[in-house]
Amino acid sequence: MKVSLFITCLSDAMFPRVGEAMAHLLARHGVKLEFPQTQTCCGQPAFNSGYFDEARASARTLLEAFADSDFVISPSGSCTGMIHHYYPKLFEHDPVLLAEANRLVDKTFEFSQFLVQVLGVTDVGAVFPYKVTYHPSCHGSRLLGVKEEPLALLSHVQGLELVPLPFAEDCCGFGGTFAVKMCDISGAMVTEKTDHIIETEAEVLVSLDMGCLLNISGNLRYRGNPVRAMHLAELLYEGVKANVHA
């Protein structure tokens, strides 16, 4: 069984600790991982801007890198969503690559999805005695349909108090190039999101996507707010390490 990490460019470059936490958690559940070095990016920045050729050039590195993998696991709901929802479209005019793309769709999982659906794990044995609120990423929950898995994992963390985030399903305003092109609209969206986060009085904000985290934590810091923004994998791994009885 060949299980590959699809680390995503954002985690690779900016949040290596997220990829590392995910890898440790999976390894502790017996998953032997490999990391094909030739992978780059799912192509979403170009695809969402309408540059399909450029997106394909990037996406092809994934088709090649994971050609003989049985499972591909990623810490991003958005990048996994990109593969699931858009690769068949991206390669619709090339029957050979389309077949490869469809195979990749079948084997690619977002991290919490893999843990819960494939391994059947909802309790990773973590202790995390903080007040936490959860922001579901739009692409993870809508394009990919990952809604219950993160909550199932969080609900089994000892000491963790999960407080509901008002209007949780509203986009945080990241949207890739949207945040740069339409910066004022995006700024208003992220400010509203952090308003709601602050309202919950949570100490930690947890999410499934580095894009959302980059956006939300950047705005929290800009506002001088101490709420910690963490990826689910980071939170769980920190909790596992903190659990002295495990």
Partner: protein, 526 residues
């Protein structure tokens, strides 16, 4: 764009208009207040229904089928309506529809027209055309009446005056009344009712829109809450109904589905207060109704979507406004920022699609974070978030893109098509950021970080990327896997068996993939 097109918003791009709207506290608060009420109403109404997802799929199938056979159903509708004595006209463009309407008005020597709410009439700017002929035309839907008094355009498909609070509305109506009216909904509505009642009685023509047209009997169906459309379609001697060519459904049975989906999605009502089905003009035994009835069927860019696999589903829209109410962009910038008749996610796609004008596309299609909330809310599951991407792509394909964006994407392709180049680029980035980083963050508002850092700080690139530390990490992981490996492999194998060998999640179109992992992804629902 003229002020008539955009209401009171100045500025020529979505971005500029949005900036003005974002700073208009009244507007932002009013829009947020009402959209929040509408979406929570919808939430409750769809949950109460119990079988919402099934009915949504029914609705989608009815619309897909009808639009796929639109020529057949339009012909059937026209034949049946004519058999009932209706004058059926076809208008290829907005201008043709205006000309047809004005010709009827002139022929009838009309002085006053009363109108019920109709978005297609906004598309035609029909009130302006009446005004030019010296004919008084009065909006009788309360929201539309307010907008008409303010000399603006609707900023929401179903709540035209959503951007105004009751104090602003009281000011407008007081001016019309010639006395100060208290900002109390009852008092304001009472005034409007008295005023409009006079107009119903003196009007020569009643003008309506059409929510659905029933092909099998040639009938039109109007949904409303105030009773004004019923007055418009019964009191005046002549009725003109404007109808987008896609408003058709095959039979009254299909209306059962639509009359469940539309009010619940629009306002959270189980049923609309008034639903009028009109089959032909007044017959002898009828108590009321117009002596003469015209239906003008309008294309105005709609038929361009037919046969286009990426955009045909746009014609499935039933104009419920649910996508506006859940849209996080719409709720911050309101409807006028979109610059067209239709606003929100549906407007962002429909306006450029109907115009078919590439040059005007970019800005409006970019005003979305592609979050997909519209798709999730839509009662007929139109994948607007996908269509926004296709609009952007068509823009790129036609060469109408900013030079810096093109250059950026060229760079993206160069770096991302080869992991070795990505590695070099990261190294360059780490060197380049040296002068900008303070306490692990960059605050400077320069280059592409200009807009981003106006609201955020960005973390510096860490000294080692994931791929830089993989070798070391791999050794650690080796230790951790240990004896559990065989159990994990067993679970993975079992999962694959459970899912089945001939698993294929792609038999449907990309816009509605079936769940690929145990019935998960693809079709969002609430």
């Amino acid at each position: 764009m003229s002020t008539h097109d955009t209401g009171h918003s100045a500025g020529s791009t979505v971005k500029e208009r949005a900036k003005i709207a974002l700073n208009d506290e009244f507007l932002v608060n009013a829009v947020k207040y009402t959209t929040e009420k509408l979406r929570s109403g919808k939430h409750t109404a769809t949950a109460d229904h119990g079988e919402w997802e099934t009915w949504r799929e029914r609705g989608r199938q009815i619309r897909l089928h009808t639009i796929a056979h639109l020529d057949y159903y339009l012909t059937q509708f026209a034949r049946n309506a004519r058999a009932q004595g209706v004058h059926v006209h076809f208008a290829a463009t907005a201008q043709e529809a205006v000309d047809l309407t004005m010709a009827i008005a002139k022929h009838k020597q009309a002085k006053t027209v009363v109108k019920s709410k109709s978005m297609v009439s906004e598309e035609l700017h029909i009130n302006k055309a009446f005004e030019e002929l010296g004919i008084e035309s009065i909006e009788t839907d309360l929201g539309e009446y307010i907008i008409q008094l303010a000399d603006e355009t609707p900023s929401h498909i179903i709540i035209p005056a959503i951007h105004k609070n009751r104090y602003q509305i009281a000011d407008l109506l007081s001016k019309e009344a010639g006395e100060t009216l208290a900002p109390d909904t009852k008092i304001l509505a009472g005034f409007a009712r008295r005023k409009l009642r006079e107009k119903f009685l003196e009007a020569d023509i009643g003008m309506t829109g059409c929510n659905f047209a029933i092909a099998s009997t040639g009938s039109i169906v109007i949904f409303e809450n105030e009773g004004n459309a019923r007055m418009v379609s019964t009191v005046p001697k002549t009725q003109i109904t404007l109808m987008g060519m896609e408003r058709i459904i095959p039979t009254w049975d299909d209306l059962e589905v639509m009359s469940t989906l539309l009010p619940r999605s629009a306002t959270g009502q189980k049923l609309t207060v008034y639903m009028s089905g009109i089959t032909g003009p007044r017959r002898e035994a009828d108590g009321d109704g117009p002596e003469e009835m015209h239906v003008i069927i309008i294309d105005n860019g709609r038929s361009q979507q037919l046969g286009d696999p990426e955009f045909q589903e746009l014609l499935n829209c039933i104009r419920c406004g649910a996508c506006l109410n859940v849209c996080p962009v719409y709720r911050h910038i309101g409807g006028h920022s979109y610059g067209g008749t239709y606003s929100g996610p549906i407007g962002a796609v429909l306006t450029p699609a109907l115009k078919g004008n590439v040059a005007e596309w970019d800005d409006i299609a970019n005003a979305s974070s592609l979050c997909g909330a519209c798709w999730e809310a839509c009662p007929v599951k139109i994948p607007l978030h996908d269509m926004l991407i296709y609009l952007r792509r068509r823009k790129v394909e036609s060469g109408y893109t900013a030079a810096d964006e093109k250059l950026g994407m060229k760079g993206f392709r160069y770096v991302m098509s080869d992991h070795r180049k990505l590695k070099l680029a990261l190294r360059a980035g780490k060197l380049g950021q040296k002068f900008l980083v303070r306490d692990g963050f960059i605050k400077a508002r320069i280059g592409p970080l200009k807009g981003w850092n106006a609201y955020r700080q960005v973390p510096a690139l860490p000294s080692k990327s994931f791929r830089d530390s993989w070798k070391h990490l791999d050794q650690e992981l080796e230790q951790e896997v240990g004896a559990k490996q065989s159990e994990a492999e067993r679970k993975m194998r079992e999962y694959l068996e459970r899912r089945g060998p001939s698993h294929n999640g792609h038999s449907e179109s990309h816009t509605s993939p079936s769940g690929t992992h145990g019935n998960q992804g693809g079709q969002p629902h609430e």
